[in-house]
């Protein structure tokens, strides 16, 4: 596996990232064992792998929420030392601020930026419209469905126009139909904003539909097992894609890679 040369043209790059955790019993568990991952500007990159392999941990390291024990992460060439609005994040559980209205949530980052009230209201409304949620500005998160909450979360992050959008199994908590609908929405939004996206999932159809490239991770201690280019032409039709033979080949290949990981797990440390 060749290490990507230090490129100024990479939006986000992780080089030889390592992370070790100490369990309650004092045991050292290596979660990430030298990971090289990168995303070019405007690319949609997915991280797939068996449950608990550490792909979310890598995402948090990319975002600056977790410090790696080895290696480094650079965003636009600058070393990432902590979280910041350049790297937005969307979580599976939405993480909306429950005490704020939908508008309050979306405006949050703009308030932190110091955007004046009239302009930030307009911008917030624009991003809500982009996720097809115009009209619910005054609602509280508890009144929304899961799909709506996630769209608010996406709008909230996009409103600060981050360089990179990190998504941690964002549709995992949603039912199949909402999930499919949001995948299409995300594609539409990405086609118009062309934000660089790093997307964690373990749904292969989702990864193939959304991504330009897919990193496949091994079981813990995680390494990059393969990097797959998704050569299906854009714009992609979610239904029609399923009939594309290229899709079937890719799906088969990915499933094979993951299956060998699952059987390799000797059950000694079933990761959570």
């Amino acid at each position: 596996m060749t290490v990507a040369a230090p490129g100024v043209d990479f939006k986000l790059q992780a080089r030889d990232v390592r992370k070790t955790f100490v369990t309650r019993g004092g045991k050292q568990v290596v979660a990430l064992d030298g990971i090289d991952v990168h995303a070019r500007p405007g690319e949609f990159v997915s991280l797939v792998g068996p449950s608990g392999c550490g792909k979310s941990t890598l995402l948090y390291i990319l975002g600056g929420f977790v410090r790696p024990d080895g290696g480094s992460v650079a965003c636009d060439g600058a070393v990432v030392r902590g979280p910041g609005p350049e790297r937005g994040i969307v979580f599976q559980e939405f993480a909306l601020f429950p005490w704020k209205t939908v508008l309050g949530n979306v405006e949050y980052g703009l308030i932190e930026r110091g955007v004046p009230p009239a302009e930030r209201r307009e911008r917030a409304r624009r991003y809500l419209a982009m996720v097809n949620l115009a009209g619910i500005e005054g609602s509280y998160p508890k009144e929304l469905s899961g799909g709506m909450k996630q769209r608010v979360a996406i709008a909230r992050t996009l409103a600060v126009e981050p360089d990179v959008l990190l998504m941690d199994e964002p549709f995992g908590a949603l039912d199949a139909q909402t999930r499919a609908m949001l995948q299409v929405e995300l594609m539409r939004i990405w086609e118009s904003t062309r934000t660089t996206i790093v997307f964690v999932t373990h749904a292969l159809d989702e990864a193939i539909f959304l991504s330009d490239r897919i990193y496949v991770f091994s079981q813990r201690p995680a390494r990059v097992k393969a990097v797959i280019d998704v050569d299906i032409e854009r714009p992609r039709d979610r239904e029609a894609m399923l009939d594309d033979p290229a899709y079937a080949t890719l799906h088969h290949r990915l499933a094979q890679l993951l299956r060998s990981e699952e059987s390799a797990d000797d059950g000694s440390g079933r990761a959570g």
């Binding site: 948090y60 975002g63 929420f65 902590g82 979280p83 910041g84 609005p85 790297r87 937005g88 994040i89 979580f91 559980e93 993480a95 601020f97 429950p98 005490w99 704020k100 949050y108 980052g109 932190e112 930026r113 509280y140 998160p141 508890k142 979360a153 909230r156 992050t157 600060v160 981050p162």
Partner: protein, 261 residues
């Protein structure tokens, strides 16, 4: 018998709660009159009501009530001002927690009423002791609920805020940690209100000198039983209304909250 044949569950008669109260009042009214209990200790309900009106007309009643209310308010406000930030900070800082928690755990089972005498020895029988004992009484529930409120916060909320540009710990505290912990904090405050009233009254009954507890005790000394009962009933009513009012206010302010406070 299928589900369709099962009788529909009828709603309980809405008059039932009032019926329960009415029964108690009737028993209260007639037991002393019929000699079932000594009317010297348990005056009939109607006598208590008359005595209550007498209290309303008594300037001393209002004066003492005001004194008590002042102590209570100061004690409670100070307990909140100390306890909430302390509890929330303990939830986020392990060192602080390790320092403070043992002290709280040790003082938790100590009956605060016993401490009243110690405070009196130390500070005399004035307002300082009364206020101190109120603070002692309700500090622990406030700290504990604030602590749990801040511990239970989903860390992803904090991370989201950081990824939206909030940098300093202080800003995260004020904008994210505190509002997220608020429902739990409010639950603890409700308890603190009840405890503070109780502690205040206990100290006034014990040390007397002034305040509604002392005022009430005087009637006991003089054998004016209906007035004693009237005082107790009025205090109970005030406490009940405070609690009711508090719950209403919290519900209105925390409309965004998904659970129960």
């Amino acid at each position: 018998m299928t589900a369709a044949d099962a009788p529909a569950e009828s709603r309980p008669n809405p008059l039932l709660p009032f019926t329960g109260i009415a029964i108690v009042l009737l028993v209260w009214e007639f037991s002393p009159r019929l000699g079932l209990v000594s009317s010297g200790s348990v005056p009939p309900f109607s006598d208590v009501v008359v005595a209550a009106f007498g209290l309303f007309a008594d300037r001393d009643f209002w004066g003492n009530l005001a004194v008590s209310a002042g102590r209570w308010a100061v004690g409670l406000i100070l307990a909140i001002a100390i306890g909430v930030p302390l509890g929330v900070a303990m939830g986020r800082n392990r060192v602080l927690f390790a320092l403070v928690d043992p002290l709280l755990t040790m003082s938790y089972p100590v009956p605060k009423a016993a401490l009243i005498l110690i405070f009196v020895l130390w500070w005399g029988a004035g307002d300082l002791s009364r206020i101190a004992i109120i603070i002692m009484g309700c500090l622990i529930p406030i700290v504990i609920s604030s602590y749990h409120g801040s511990r239970a916060i989903d860390n992803r909320l904090v991370w989201s805020a950081r990824a939206l540009g909030t940098r300093s710990s202080a800003a995260l505290f004020a904008k994210i940690v505190f509002p997220a912990a608020l429902p739990q904090i409010c639950a603890g405050l409700r308890l603190a209100i009840a405890i503070s009233i109780f502690t205040l009254l206990a100290s006034e009954l014990l040390i007397r000198q002034s305040g509604i507890g002392s005022y009430m005790f005087t009637f006991l000394d003089d054998g004016q039983t209906p007035q004693v009962w009237a005082c107790a009933a009025l205090l109970a009513t005030i406490a009940f209304l405070l609690d009711l009012g508090y719950v209403r206010i919290v519900h209105a302010s925390l409309r965004w909250f998904e659970g129960d406070v």
